[in-house]
């Protein structure tokens, strides 16, 4: 049974003509991890915010269906969203330093969150979770101001606070991008372990393919606000079909052998209103790509939104 089901999700920000997210569909089963990959501006953060009711005021969200753990998320009140954020869904954001109010001691901020969930008595539980994520002296850490702790420490605290509600779904938006690479590995390890320990479903959003490939069972590749390819991680990242996914993988630096192939650059404001969003950067572009939206083609466990890419892939296989 799936925990999260999103069908045809579209988001417009206030005062913007083109959607930040258009027609995104994906689902996620209990205990599984979904990776969302894309460059900045691809709409991946919008997905995260939309799933928490955190879109800025004035943003419009449409979908044919969004469900989380049996709750319908379409057109629900702010109060209901608040309730969901206190029980079902939790977040970890990109910059651990910026995720905490710089002028308040961490303990009071943490208590605000626990109180909000009606679980002020969970403080002792939080302390044990903090120890679990590698904070040796929780009392001292919580007695500090954010600027007194390292990014790694703060991100551990963010994770612990997110998990203390025992949410069904954790959404981690670029959880390691702002950290040193050694700390990055530790945080990923923690997320990896907690997933099984707490029977947690995880949405991990990142521009970094190595992060996604390490954690995710399924991958959604986003470009220009659309989902261009979706499937099991080994399918999508192992044998990519969409020219964008291919480009993304080819641009990853390798230690030996062939040099990396840079992805054709994107000029500012180049995303087309009409046709395939990737068309202007695509080497497989056909004339129809510029005019009509590519239809999703079912492929293995997921789909690919690119006809020419699918053809090329089949040719290569045969």
């Amino acid at each position: 049974m799936s925990l999260l089901k999103v069908d045809d999700l579209t988001v417009y920000y206030a005062g913007e003509q083109s959607p930040a997210l258009k027609g995104a569909s994906f689902e996620l089963d209990h205990g599984r991890t979904l990776g969302v990959v894309g460059e900045s501006g691809s709409g991946k953060t919008t997905v995260a915010l939309a799933l928490g009711g955190l879109l800025p005021s004035g943003a419009k969200m449409k979908a044919s269906r969004i469900e989380l753990g049996g709750h319908d998320l379409l057109d629900i009140s702010k109060r209901k969203w608040l309730h969901l954020r206190r029980s079902e869904v939790a977040f970890v954001f990109q910059s651990p330093v910026d995720s905490w109010n710089p002028t308040r001691v961490l303990r009071v901020q943490v208590k605000d969150a626990l109180q909000a969930a009606g679980r002020s008595d969970d403080y002792s539980r939080l302390v044990s979770v903090l120890q679990r994520v590698g904070i040796d002296d929780p009392d001292r850490a919580l007695g500090s101001y954010p600027h007194q702790l390292s990014g790694g420490m703060l991100q551990r605290i963010s994770i612990a606070v997110a998990l203390v509600h025992e949410p069904a779904l954790l959404i981690a938006d670029e959880p390691t991008s702002a950290l040193d690479s050694t700390v990055q590995a530790e945080i990923l390890e923690i997320l990896h372990e907690l997933r099984t320990e707490a029977n947690l479903s995880l949405v991990i959003i990142s521009h970094d393919l190595s992060v996604v490939s390490r954690l995710a069972d399924e991958v959604v590749v986003m470009y220009g606000g659309r989902v261009v390819e979706r499937g099991e991680t080994e399918d999508v990242l192992g044998l990519p079909v969409h020219p964008y996914t291919r480009g993304l993988l080819a641009s990853v630096p390798k230690l030996e052998g062939e040099t990396r192939t840079p992805l054709p650059a994107m000029a500012f404001g180049e995303i087309a209103d009409q046709g395939c969003v990737f068309a202007t950067r695509c080497d497989l572009r056909e004339e129809t790509c510029l005019r009509t939206d590519p239809l999703p083609i079912e492929h293995k466990s997921g789909f690919v939104a690119c006809g020419p890419g699918m053809e090329k892939w089949s040719k290569e296989r045969s």
Binding site: T103, A113, A116
Partner: protein
Amino acid sequence: MTDTEQDSLVVGPEHENRFSSGPTANFAKGLLWLLVVVLAAVSLTFILSRVIPADPARLAAGLEAGPDQVAQVRQDLGLDKPVVVQYVNYLGGLISGDFGDSIRTRQPVINDLLEALPASLELIVVSFTMIAGLGILLGIIWAYWPRGLHSVLLRIIAVAGSAMPVFWVGLLLQVGLAANIDWLPIAGSFNHRKYGVDEITGSGLLDSLISMDTSAIVEAIRRLVLPITTIVFHNIALTMTLMRSSMSEQLQRPYVQAARARGVSESKVVTVDALRNALNPVVTMLGLQLGWSLGGVVIVEVIFSWPGIGLYAFSAFQAFDYNAIMAVTIIATASFVLINSLVNRIYRVLDPRIT
């Protein structure tokens, strides 16, 4: 860029002493700074007082005085001594709170000042409370709901309030609400004797409150309405707009988003998390405003014949009463420095990153 910001926000030497050790060192430095500024004010006004075109002895002796009497007064006031000696004598007097005598009221300036101070403080305290309270509240509302009719209205108030000269606003209010329709007294402060209220604090509002006489209280408030409205209308723009920009900047910070994501309620996110940080620049600015207020109430006190320090300074200026003008300059300067060092302490409480 950050240098400019810091420079414009923090006045006084405090910002360079932030990393020095301990509160006592800071206190001593603050005190030293107060002395330096006051000495500068004294010296500058003293130098100015010696280039005065009118002969102070002549003025002090009165118009009918003959040359002998003028010479006598000159000797009595020490005006025949060398300027340096006069300067030292003046400084010596200051230490014991002696600002010399007023040639207008013919009593020690310090007595005049103490008599006028309560009326000014009444105006300043009431108007400042309203500016701070109302300005912050409206700024928050404006930042949180940036669109709509109220935001247009607030913008008009902000722009008009700062662009309309304060004396004109006062005049218009007098014409509109007092002179023609007699709703409110056109000028003057609370008359203690008329209402049989004892003069305890000197402030009409406080004394009438102490007397618990309803009609006296109403009268004291009626007296305050026009001057206070004038001051608040003219000064609230800064607080309101700064609060708005500071608050909307904070509301866009990731920590606000993160707190919401943690399930913290919207009201708590806004009033506890964002507000606390958004207040920082506003507190600094309010401190500057409060610091300048003693010098800033002059025009309002003159328009509304409010018997405070400002009106006293104005009368002194008209009578070339230089001792009085010097005294007001010194008091106003010293109060600015004092208030600002106090505000810097508040600032430190608000922002723990400044140690």
